[in-house]
Symmetry: C2
């Protein structure tokens, strides 16, 4: 067996600190989200883990995703055009580029994001907890496909 990542260790510690339990399903969901940059939906998490955990249920996947969001380990991108909410384990503020054709999601970091965040916090009177920055368009691959049509 592999050594668990620091994030997983911390997650388990935080669970205990909150009086919650450390279950294989919870670990598996976070581990899976950390292992991919495809921004999966609940259904995709379920499918990916169903093989290894045959008894896994949608209820558990949704419960765990909600828990992880609440604990700040992942964030929700919401529906990206395929009628499913997608999740992102990259909690560093960044922009998500959503391809409206193939529904791929690419992360992009920008120095301007920090400025924007600071501006919002200072100007709005809001106590900002989280952000969801999505740009919609055509990814390079789909631009190519469109030209060939």
């Amino acid at each position: 067996m592999t050594t668990p990542s620091p994030r997983l260790v911390e997650f388990n510690q935080n669970l205990h600190a909150m009086g919650l339990r450390n279950t294989p399903q919870r670990t598996a969901v976070l581990e899976y989200l950390d292992s991919t940059d495809t921004h999966p939906s609940a259904a995709e998490v379920y499918s990916a883990l169903k093989q290894r955990y045959p008894g896994l249920s949608f209820a558990t996947v949704y419960n765990t995703l909600d828990l992880l969001v609440g604990m700040g380990y992942i964030s929700v991108l919401g529906d990206i055009g395929d009628n499913q909410a997608h999740f992102d384990s990259n909690i560093v503020p960044h922009a998500n580029l959503v391809c409206v054709r193939c529904h791929s999601i690419t992360d992009i970091h920008s120095p301007h994001l920090e400025n924007l965040g600071t501006f919002i916090t200072q100007e709005s009177g809001f106590e900002v907890v989280n952000s969801r920055i999505l740009y919609y368009g055509l990814c390079p691959v789909c631009q190519q496909k469109t030209k060939n049509t």
Copy 2:
């Protein structure tokens, strides 16, 4: 009767130009969205107009919202935590501040948005069509309520 806004006039002209028809329902939906800054959901649009158009159906509301999005007259904010997609008639790029407690949505404009948009376009290889910039947190009113709890 009041004079229709330039935007409504242009909308009707564009409908004709596209070979589509100018119906009271279509005008009413756009007019309603233009009249409010509450970023309504489909259900809220339906409720608001149902009084004046008793026969109005959800199908028409959804069809019209899709049409308006497609024509670029409104944009979709998506689910903001209440499990309903919300719509925004403010198509000038801006950030939306979503209160996670009362689900209010406030628009805020920032000079940094333009820089961010330019950066994304230049760096990503994406052909950006649209953006959805949401910040989640507590609005001033709900911050006050939380303190009193």
